[in-house]
Amino acid sequence: MRQALRLLGYGWALHFKILSRSAFDGFLGVLWPLFFATIAFFMFRTGGNSSALLYTSLGASVMGVWSSTSVAASSALQRERWAGMLELLAAAPVHFSLILMPITLAMSTVGIYSMTATLLWGRLLFGIQLHVQHLLLFALAIPVAILSIGMLGFLLSVTVVRYRTAWALGNALEYPVWLVCGFLVPLSLFPGWVRPISWALAPTWGIRAIREAALGGSPLPDLLVCAAIGLGYAAAGMLLVDTVLRSARSRATLSLT
């Protein structure tokens, strides 16, 4: 257990260091969430409703977390394959989830910047004041949402191990999840059949908990559901990873050729 925690911590630090060493990725990482947030702010400002702007500001901040986790984690794993690292990592005598999880967690950590930058951007350029009603629960909701989104990224990354082209799945899911999880518009605007999909996704509950904590309401149930679904993703990923890895060894998909 101690070795597993140590490996998770070391892996997270290593992958965070790799991310921080790329000037190009860093530049995009800084600007990207601000572009998205700006578009969202302009769209909702026309309504002249200040609470809608705060609603959007919080949603846009979690959009960045999701984008950095889903897209970046899938492509990061594909980069491991291109660099010939995936085979070396798969050949290590530890459970493969201890190798995959830190990669997605490092990406989610980048999402913390994205969240802070979006809120500050809204405050400085659009005058959106953030008045938090339940400060403690708000502070708790942020790491729970980020970790749960990280675990969803982990579950996605398991498929990248098996299928060489699955990294595109991360890209493909980026915008639909923005919509389906209600980051920008309320879920009530969508057809009924979308709801079950939304409920199965931790970001839906994460953003609800954050909004309830900030705007007033009862965030605790949403927070607990978000944490439970996040744990469910982690458990599913850990159970799947051995099967997926065996399949990748059988079909020779760990390497590029």
Partner: protein, 322 residues
């Protein structure tokens, strides 16, 4: 007991072509390979590109599941006891890939020390010792992207040795490395064998296998075509003759015409500037130079020379046999 044991290993790759009418293709990369490696032995798997060396090694290090057959390392089955095998082996492959380029060499080593469960208290001393062994002491804090090929290869070797494994798999470790660097690497590999490690080395350089290996298996088209000590392999061709025929604009079937002659063991074609040199290896009592020239017919021929077979001829003969 054999430390590494492969019994009738086979591996087939499945691919598909076509967009609408998908067609499945099966490529047999390894076709019934069997061998044993004793404790402390340096065993060479020698063969040309695409012969099945890397596929064989990947099955032994648990990265690929064999289509059929069995393999054991230190008594552990490579499919059923994959984790036990992984704990006890080191894997080093050749080339530029397999390192975190943006990080310093020492960070690469520390991460793999964690992955292989090297106790935290021992990590620093172990990494220092290995940096010294591979000659990277003092360069470990530089980013890998600034390393030369030779330095990268030495870092690979240090990585593979972090957990002090008793068995090492080295897949073409000197590929792409300059002659001086390659010689240094061969020195490091020899010292590992002297330290009692069991080593499986794959290479397509005959001289490298000859200089390092206790025993060699020659693999061609997925099958082992010869096995023995370097001396045994040389003995296979010492009694033959080699004729080199320089040709110009030789048709594609010229080599085949020679191969069909009685007594011809192998024909290799080497491009040398404007000419194609046909290197014909024959049994001592086999075909004469005159018969070879007659078989070539109208082909424009330049210089013709005969010589004693070398070790490289032995290898070429084995992998290009009729």
């Amino acid at each position: 007991m054999a430390v590494v044991e492969a019994v009738d290993l086979r591996r087939t790759y499945k691919t598909s072509t076509g967009l609408f009418r998908r067609r499945s293709l099966e490529v047999e990369a390894v076709r019934g390979v069997s061998f044993e490696i004793a404790e402390g032995e340096l065993f060479g798997l020698l063969g040309p590109n695409g012969a099945g060396k890397t596929t064989t090694i990947k099955m032994l290090i648990t990265l690929l599941i064999p289509t059929s057959g069995e393999a054991r390392v230190l008594g552990y089955d490579v499919v059923k006891d994959a984790r036990e095998v992984r704990k006890r082996i080191g894997y080093v492959f050749g080339g530029d890939r397999g390192l975190y380029e943006r990080l310093p060499g020492i960070d690469n080593l520390r991460y793999f020390a964690e992955l292989y469960g090297v106790p935290p208290r021992e990590q620093r001393a172990r990494i220092d010792e290995l940096l010294e062994l591979v000659g990277l002491k003092g360069r470990e804090k530089e980013k890998v992207e600034g390393y030369s090929k030779g330095m990268r290869q030495r870092l690979h070797i240090a990585r593979g040795l972090l957990h002090d494994p008793p068995v090492l798999f080295l897949d073409e470790p000197t590929i792409g490395v300059d002659p001086v660097g390659a010689r240094e690497l061969r020195g490091t590999i020899a010292s590992l064998a002297q330290a009692g490690k069991t080593v499986l080395l794959t290479t397509h350089y005959m001289f490298e296998a000859d200089a390092l290996c206790d025993r060699i298996a020659v693999i061609a088209k997925g099958e082992i075509v010869a096995e023995g000590t370097p001396r045994d392999l040389k003995a296979l061709v010492t009694e033959g003759t080699v004729v080199e025929i320089e040709t110009f604009d030789a048709p594609g079937d010229a080599a085949d015409r020679l191969r069909r002659l009685p007594g011809v063991m192998s024909v290799a074609v080497e491009d040398r500037e404007q000419a194609q040199v046909l290197v014909v290896q024959s049994e001592a009592t086999g075909t004469t130079t005159q018969q070879l020239l007659v078989a070539l017919g109208d082909v424009q021929v330049g210089r013709v020379s005969a010589r004693e077979p070398t070790l490289e001829d032995a290898y070429v003969s084995l992998v290009t046999r009729k």
